[in-house]
Each structure stands twice: as structure tokens, then as C-alpha cells.
Symmetry: C2
Subunit: 386 residues, 2 copies
């Protein structure tokens, strides 16, 4: 995407010499207006297409991708707070700051994953946009599974199985319904009420949803997505023994050291494709494998002229840990629409003024800078020393 495009600099002169830099803020209300204008299906389709394009065109000379890093904690409840940065050299940095707190749902009525995404002009350090990350994370995680499934699953897949029926399962179903002729969803959650209520969450898809025992999901699915909050060390969440021979699995939940969803026996006989190998080896299903036992990455899959589908007869697994590049893609989709539609609050966030060498000069415009009157320094020193 050219830097002169709709995401080009928003720097402009105004009021004489005063430099203005605006930050576009997209919160819940703005996101609702945006979806109303663009359409949810169209947004998902665009995100899938843009992700495929970006993965295919990825060049490490132009884009510097980092593994997720963060803080882990056990109290008051186990969780993680992480930062996920990616830089397009000479153009921008996108950083998602994301909390993963499974106790949110029952304890606070909040999503497990809450996040915000920021876009910086890397040439100046200016924050160009701040966006809700909760809705975009769900969108792009669904889109990533759709891209992987397009390369790994049977195109005529009709039954989608879901293990774990929380927020991420909704966009798995949505994204896959855009690419496959799904006829029904078979779903399982260790909380029966969460499985039962899933039909309501995906009613907009117009597909029959059956809450069934886990073994039925395993037996009936052509494509299966695991999106659970299984505790570290408590996996797997599948037996893997009764799967269809052509099964493709999107393993979405593993995103922490020690957190895995699939049985090792299944991984060993499957073609396992990580989204981003360095991260998957630390946080994904690939933790269970040696590097030599791992298949092509999602980057390699989309660039390969040989379809991944040739591997059929053998299960395929997309090891989705979630990468910053996906956040960049969905943010660009959303921001392009926001700018075209004039959606978003514009804030002058950074304190600027006529003299870039004076951090107080923004205070001079309205006489806020104090008068040149010294207070008694001895009072200050003794106040600090007491």
C-alpha cells in the first residue's frame, strides 16, 4: 500500500506556523457506524483477501515482524498482557496491546481478550490512529483460519466442527462460511450452556447449529476449529482418534507457553502449518514438535504454487497463534473505510508548538507558562529531604 494512499500522513499546517498532527480514534460507537456502512460480510471478505495478499507479498526487507512479548501473572487470576509490534520500514508501526484473561467472562462480564491497536508514523513517532482491538482481533483470527483452510481443507467441506464456543468461535464460523459451502455446525463446549447459546451468537449465518458431545464433533467435522481457554498443561481438548481422514483443523487457542489443544499423536501424523514459526515454537501447538517435523508456514502456503490440498489423506493443522501482521491488515481495512467515510474522532494528542526544541511552548499560547518568579529553593530542598 503506497504511503500516499488513504493511510498517508495526516500532517498539515494550520493557524500560521502551528503544526497539527491528528490522531484518529475508533471506539465502539465508531466501529458500529463503520460496520453499518460497509457490512459485516464485506468486512470479513476484505480482511480475508487483504490478509492473503499481505502474506503473499511479505518481504522481511520491508516488514519487520516481532514475536509477541509480555507479562504473565497468576494473581488475582491467571492471565497475560502482551504487545505485538510490526514495522513497515519507512512507513508505520502497528502495535496491539492485548490482555488475555479467561476470568473476565464469568467474573466481569467482559471478553477474555480485550485489546487496542495503535498505528504510528515511524518517521516521526506520531500516533496516527487508536482503535478498539477486540472486534478486529476476532475478525482477523477468523480470517487467518479462512486463508489457511482455503489452502488446506477440502473445498467441498460441509460440516464445521467447533470445540470451544466463545467469542473466537463466532468469527471462525463466520469466516469459514464465506469460503466453504457449509451446511451445518456441530459444536461442543465444556460448559454446556456456552455450547447451547452458540446458535444465538451465529444466528446471522442462517445455518443449523447442533450442540453435541465432543466425539460427535470429532466424527462429523470436515473442518474443525479449536478455540478454547484450556489451562496451561491441561490439554489436549480433542481425542483425535475418530476424525475424518481429510480433516483440517484450525487450532486457534494455543497462545501461551504450555497451552496446547491437540494431542501429540495427531500432530505427529498431520501436516502442521504454523502462522509464524518462531512464535508457534514457543506458544503454539508446535511447542510439542521438533522444528523438522513442522510443515510449511502460512506465509509459505499462500506463496506456494502447489496447493496444500495435495496433502490430503493426511490430517492438516493450522497452528494459529495470532500475529501482529494480521492486526496490521485488519486495522488497515478498517482505517481505510473510516477515512473514506469520515468516521472517527480526531484528537490532537501530542503536545506540539512552534518551537520543536521547547517542550513547554504549547503552554505559551494561552499564557499558561508561569511568570519568571523564583520560589525559595531552600523550601523545595528541605521538602524533598524530609
Amino acid at each position: 500500500m503506497a504511503s500516499t494512499g488513504p493511510l498517508g500522513p495526516e500532517t498539515h499546517q494550520s493557524k500560521g506556523k502551528t503544526l497539527m498532527l491528528s490522531t484518529r480514534v475508533l471506539g465502539e460507537q465508531e466501529m458500529r457506524r463503520l460496520v453499518a456502512a460497509v457490512g459485516l460480510h464485506a468486512l470479513m471478505d476484505e480482511t480475508i483477501a487483504a490478509l492473503e495478499r499481505t502474506l503473499a507479498g511479505f518481504d522481511s526487507a520491508h516488514t519487520e515482524l516481532r514475536k509477541r512479548e509480555g507479562f504473565q501473572y497468576q494473581h488475582p487470576s491467571p492471565g497475560v498482557f502482551e504487545w505485538m509490534p510490526v514495522m513497515e520500514v519507512g512507513r508505520q508501526v502497528v502495535v496491539k496491546l492485548v490482555g488475555y484473561n479467561p476470568a473476565n467472562v464469568e467474573g466481569m462480564g467482559l471478553p477474555t481478550i480485550l485489546s487496542s491497536i495503535s498505528l504510528y508514523d515511524v518517521n516521526t513517532g506520531h500516533l496516527r490512529a487508536l482503535c478498539d482491538g477486540t472486534f478486529p482481533t476476532a475478525l482477523r483470527t477468523g480470517a487467518a483460519s479462512a486463508v489457511a483452510s482455503r489452502h488446506l481443507a477440502r473445498p467441498d467441506s460441509q460440516v464445521l466442527g467447533l470445540v470451544g464456543c466463545g467469542a473466537q468461535a463466532v468469527t471462525q464460523a463466520h469466516a469459514l462460511s464465506r469460503l466453504f459451502p457449509l451446511k451445518r455446525l456441530v459444536v461442543y463446549d465444556r460448559r454446556p450452556e456456552t455450547a447451547r447459546s452458540f446458535a444465538r451468537r451465529v444466528d446471522f449465518l442462517g445455518l443449523p447449529v447442533e450442540a453435541v458431545p465432543l466425539e460427535h464433533v470429532e466424527r462429523e467435522a470436515d473442518i474443525l476449529c479449536t478455540a478454547t481457554s484450556v489451562e496451561v498443561g491441561a490439554g489436549p481438548v480433542l481425542s483425535g482418534t475418530q476424525l475424518k481422514p481429510h480433516i483440517h483443523i484450525n487450532a486457534v487457542g494455543s497462545d501461551l507457553p504450555g497451552k496446547t489443544e491437540l494431542p501429540l499423536e495427531l500432530l505427529r501424523r498431520a501436516l502442521v502449518c504454523p502462522d509464524y514459526l518462531p512464535q508457534a515454537l514457543e506458544e503454539g501447538e508446535c511447542q510439542q514438535l521438533r522444528p523438522g517435523d513442522i510443515g510449511p508456514s502460512l506465509f509459505e502456503l499462500v506463496r506456494s504454487s502447489e496447493p496444500g490440498r495435495r496433502h490430503h489423506g493426511r490430517p492438516t493443522v493450522f497452528d494459529s497463534t495470532g500475529i501482529a501482521l494480521e492486526d496490521q491488515v485488519v486495522l488497515e481495512v478498517l482505517l481505510t473505510h473510516a477515512q473514506n467515510l469520515g468516521i472517527g474522532r480526531l484528537v490532537q494528542l501530542e503536545s506540539l508548538a512552534d518551537d520543536p526544541r521547547d517542550p513547554y511552548s504549547f503552554l505559551r499560547t494561552e499564557g499558561v507558562l508561569p511568570e519568571a518568579a523564583r520560589t525559595d529553593y531552600r523550601t523545595q530542598v528541605s521538602a524533598c529531604e524530609s
Copy 2:
């Protein structure tokens, strides 16, 4: 600071069961109002006092501090984009995202350092506040030198020398003027115009400012601050040969691998106190030293019952690389005032709704969710494959 204090959770129920989480945004305009209400001197005094308290009370069991990490680049101009995170366990994460672009000033009329600071509730992942980071960075960098100088410099220091007369020098002078009986400032910048214009930037201090040759600054200063954008590998910026025997130096500029301001000969005979040793060894003056040759950190200085001043007769150096804990301190000072004064725009940033397991439920309130009408999947598949 207790989590029930003025920075406690801003979560509240409203409109039936809908959960609201507000994000307080403090931009340039809000910052100007805040300084007008509180006073710039009072803000600096509070930041100095709060930093001293926080350093003295620091406990790694409760606060997890990380070294700065980031992206470095050479094009279009050399610069860095970095993230600086710190977590108070069970309470909050503060992250500053900061760009360091010396070409900003001449090329764009923008400060070298542009940044924004975010405060997250670590228990939920919610973004509680977003704040300009440019003004707070200057404040806290001045405050850090003041705290160090209180422990290392002579209390009767009257002459402040400044090498490098840009934005950071302004708050060095301001902060030190709050603790020492300064009579005059002697300043040098490799750009004569930047040295000459410095008097205007600190006119609010009511102190005489003399733009003089570098050797005069070295000879006359009781306390000396280096705050330059010297290029990597191009230091030192001082000769160090004509300093007063009791000189204390705040070395503020070194913040990159290879970027240092002080001559090794001076560092070898001085007591060198880093702000945060792991970072100073990579980015500070301490890069030039072996760990065994480095003195107490700022944390140790403020906690020691023995005053650092006992080292006199020997030069002292504060190796200030800038740490996330300082950003946390200044953000808390500013946010406490903002909340008390009702300053800041409140935004509902994260998309939330009645069902935390449904990332689309915020779209249901106004009928934005699409009808249950399937588009033809085959169109989608072929669109993606073309």
C-alpha cells in the same frame, strides 16, 4: 498507591446490563488546561517527589520493569521506535511508545522525541488512559536528573552547565532549578542558533543564560547536563579535562547502542550511577564500562542511608537512559489531577456488549448485524482464487 484511589477502576454498569469501560484521553488541549490549573512548577515538584518515593519503594515482587525494546532504522533518516512497559502486578501496565527521530526538528518542525503513554488495567486488558507522552517525557527526564543530583551533587551548586540545548535541556534546567540555588546557566550547542535561542525557552526561570564555548561550560559548571542527539559512534561531546573537582554530570542523551556522550577517561575516574543497570549496559554511558566499574543505581542511591555526596572530590555521573517506571510516575501524577479536575475526553474504546462470548453483539443494539441471508459461497471462493 492503592487500587481504590483516584486511579481505581473506571468500570461501571449503565443502561441496563451494558457494561461501560471508559478510556480517558489527555491530548494537548487537556494537558494545557491541566497545567493551567495545577501550575508547571507544582507539577515538576510533584513529579520529582513521586519519583523519589517510587524509586525508594520499588519492589521487584510487585513491579515488573522491562528494558526498552524496539525497531531501529536508517531510512529515510536514522531513528528508533520503542516500547517501554512496566507492570504493577494485579493492578496496571503502563506502556510508552516512543519515536526518537533527530531529523524531526529540522525536517518536520517536530520534536525529536514524540510519544504517547497508555495505562491498562492488567486484570482485564482494558485501556484506561491514553496520554500525550511528549510533555510528560520531558518532565520526568528532568525530574530523574533532579533526584539523582540531590543525591550526588553539592547542595550549594550555583552554576548549571548544559551541553545540547534542545527540548530535554529545558526540563533539565527547570527540574534542577527547583532543588538548587542556581545563579546562572552556561550553555553550549553545536548549532550556535540553538544555544542562542535557549534563553528564550527558559525565560520563565528568571535566570541569566550565557551561550558560551564548550570549554567554558566544562570549566564553570557545578552541575552539568548533556542532552544531545550526538550520532552513534560520534561521541564524546565533552573533553572532561577541565571540570570542577566536585562536578556532577547528568548524562541524558545516551539511549542507543553506540550512542554515548562522555569520555571514557572521565567515566573511569567518576562514580557512575545508572538509572537501570540492565538498560544502561546496552544503551547508556555504562556501555563503555565493565559491570564491576559501575556505582550504585538510582534505586540504590535513593534507598541508601549514606548520602552519595560522600563521594565528593570525585566526579559523579548519573547515566540516565530513561525508564518505564519514570513514565508510570509522571502519568500517575497527571492522571490523578485530570480525574480530580474532570479533565480528559472519555471514550468507550473497546467494543463490548451484553454477551462477552459474542464479538459481534455490540452490533445487535442498532440492528447492524446482517440478516441471515447467505451470499453465494462459490462467488467468494473464486474471487479469492483469482
